[in-house]
């Protein structure tokens, strides 16, 4: 195989809110050739199917729908000389930044000076949470259903049950109610709802759709098409409680049970992943364990606000451009770990002596009147402290450290 390998300065994999921003960030930081590779027919990623508003509050200072948010970024991209490839899927990524890309226009190999991973995430499936029962038609993950309804104008059922109270499930409850689908209920296994309270009001309460906490679907019934689901309450260990089972007739089950960063390419490149985030371990420049490969957006950690995925994208793109231009860091890094009540803190590494770094984190459970502390693991010194009246696991939060960090630190949450 003697085909000449194309080169570029920065390759961005994924054209959603993070990838669009990364391409812009790279170009604006002076990268020569920036290639934005998107597997769908159009840029925009998941935003294309998020027809509801709530996007852009931070990036555009107004709330607009997903498609509008995407289109503004797409127009910005069109104004810069960014090489956009849609309908192109990266099948393989190697640690030496060689990409294998397949598209109708051709199958090619591209060697990039730097790579930004912005592949987003996929949805947790029925099989992964092991719901017993039959395998009829009529079971959809909420995002898949959103695509089929909003982009393909399809009636997916008449009576639906939704498992999971994350925002995607809540938004789809409302969307289905708009179309006259009877949404029998939203069932959430935890004692608290995962989605925004605003969505509970506007997607469930407005339509008298019941929300049942500490409940889950324990069986799916129906031979060819879903005929009913069995729901039950769960105990403290999230195991179904015998005797609480109820049969709910329905022809559709929507699953909104979690998002998983889509890091197959990252694995192929040998990038270290964090089991806490499902995404790459990165330093404050968003560079992964493989030099020259950066990560941002949902593929790095699941965001609830698209604007922040974009901010990460701008930063990662800029860093990728600088790397492609030859900038290297020889500095030592220190590790950042999640302390009490903190699910994860990102970045997981920081250049020793670097000041002004901001961390993103999530707590493990709803907490009130707490303070977040960034503490030295060895010295116990407090580098930063911030009070919060209320913290929810569903809301990504930030804390900034003004001083330089010279030792391993821990981000913890104390009442």
């Amino acid at each position: 195989m003697a085909e000449p390998i194309e080169t570029c300065d920065v390759a961005v994999i994924g054209g959603g809110p993070a990838g669009l921003a990364a391409a812009l960030g790279a170009r604006r930081a002076g990268a020569g050739t920036v290639v934005l590779i998107e597997r769908d027919r159009t840029l925009g990623g998941i935003l294309n199917q998020c027809v509801h508003d709530g996007f852009g509050l931070f990036l555009y200072k107004e709330t607009i729908s997903g498609p509008e948010y995407a289109e503004r970024l797409i127009e910005d991209v069109a104004r810069e000389s960014i090489k956009v490839e849609t309908g192109a899927m990266v099948l393989d990524l190697a640690a030496d930044r060689l990409l294998r890309v397949n598209a109708r226009q051709g199958y090619r190999l591209i060697r990039a000076g730097a790579v930004v991973l912005a592949m987003g995430c996929r949805e947790r499936t029925r099989e992964m949470i092991e719901i017993p029962g039959t395998r009829p038609a009529g079971i959809f993950t909420a995002g898949s259903a959103q695509n089929l309804v909003n982009l393909q104008n399809l009636r997916i059922g008449h009576e639906a049950v939704i498992l999971g109270s994350g925002d995607i499930g809540l938004i789809m409850a409302r969307r289905l109610a708009f179309e006259g689908v009877a949404v029998k209920g939203v069932f959430e296994i935890l004692p608290w709802a995962s989605g925004l309270e605003r969505n509970i009001r506007q997607c469930l309460m407005d339509f008298s759709i019941p929300l049942e906490l500490r409940s889950t679907v324990v069986e799916i019934r129906g031979r060819d098409r879903v005929e009913s689901v069995v729901v039950a309450k769960v105990d403290g260990a999230l195991a179904p409680l015998a005797g609480t089972e109820r049969v709910i007739p329905c022809d559709t089950l929507l699953l909104s049970v979690g998002l998983i960063p889509e890091n197959e390419l990252s694995k192929r490149a040998g990038i270290e992943l964090s089991p806490l985030t499902g995404g790459a371990v990165v330093d404050e420049t968003l560079m992964t364990s493989v030099e020259g490969i950066f990560s941002c957006g949902n593929v790095l950690h699941i965001h609830d606000i698209a604007d922040w995925a974009s901010f990460e994208g701008f930063a990662a793109g800029e860093r990728a451009a600088r790397f492609a231009a030859g900038e290297r860091s020889a500095a030592k890094t220190v590790r950042v770990s999640a302390g009490p009540n903190v699910r994860y803190a990102l970045p997981q590494l920081v250049t020793a002596g670097k000041a002004g770094v901001e961390w993103s984190f999530r707590v493990t459970r709803p907490m009130r009147n707490v303070r977040i502390e960034i503490k030295g693991r060895a010295s116990d010194r407090i580098y930063a402290r911030k009070k919060f009246a209320r913290l929810l696991p569903s809301e990504l939060q930030k804390i900034k450290v003004r001083e330089a960090v010279e030792e391993d630190i821990e981000v913890g949450c104390r009442e």
């Binding site: 509801h52 729908s65 498609p67 509008e68 909003n150 982009l151 708009f178 309270e197 506007q202 407005d206």
Partner: protein, 123 residues
């Protein structure tokens, strides 16, 4: 808040503080709000409880394309009870290509002062 409920709790979304407001309808039928740390929370809570306003979003087929859809929303909120009547109006829409983002598809829908606008461009 339904007629029978005398009490509601909601989080104010007007600023990042996110005060948790408690809204009570007292014996005289008056709305009392507690938990707000500024004045803006009061009308927000009262409106949400008495005259909730909502936006809505959906998509409609574009004429002159191979089954493409254009997403739409309102450019301002409307009284909550107008949701289904407005959806019914929108369901009849078949805008012709090309559609521009922001294009008004129905002006002042059902007298609410809200326009139905396209939220993406479709060629």
């Amino acid at each position: 808040m339904s007629e029978s409920a005398a009490f509601d709790r909601l989080t104010c979304v007007l600023c990042p503080v996110g005060c948790e407001l408690e809204v009570v309808k007292d014996a005289a039928g008056e709305i009392q709000v507690q938990g707000n740390q500024c004045d803006k929370g009061l009308p927000f809570a009262v409106e949400e409880v008495l005259r909730p306003r909502r936006n809505l979003a959906t998509s409609v087929p574009v004429r002159g394309t191979a089954a493409k859809m254009v997403s739409v929303r309102l450019n301002r909120t409307v009284p909550r009870e107008m949701i289904f009547p407005i959806l019914k109006e929108i369901a009849e829409l078949r805008p012709a290509a090309p559609v521009r983002r922001g294009q008004v598809l129905i002006a002042d829908v059902l007298g609410t002062c809200a326009d139905v606008i396209a939220t993406r461009s479709v060629s």
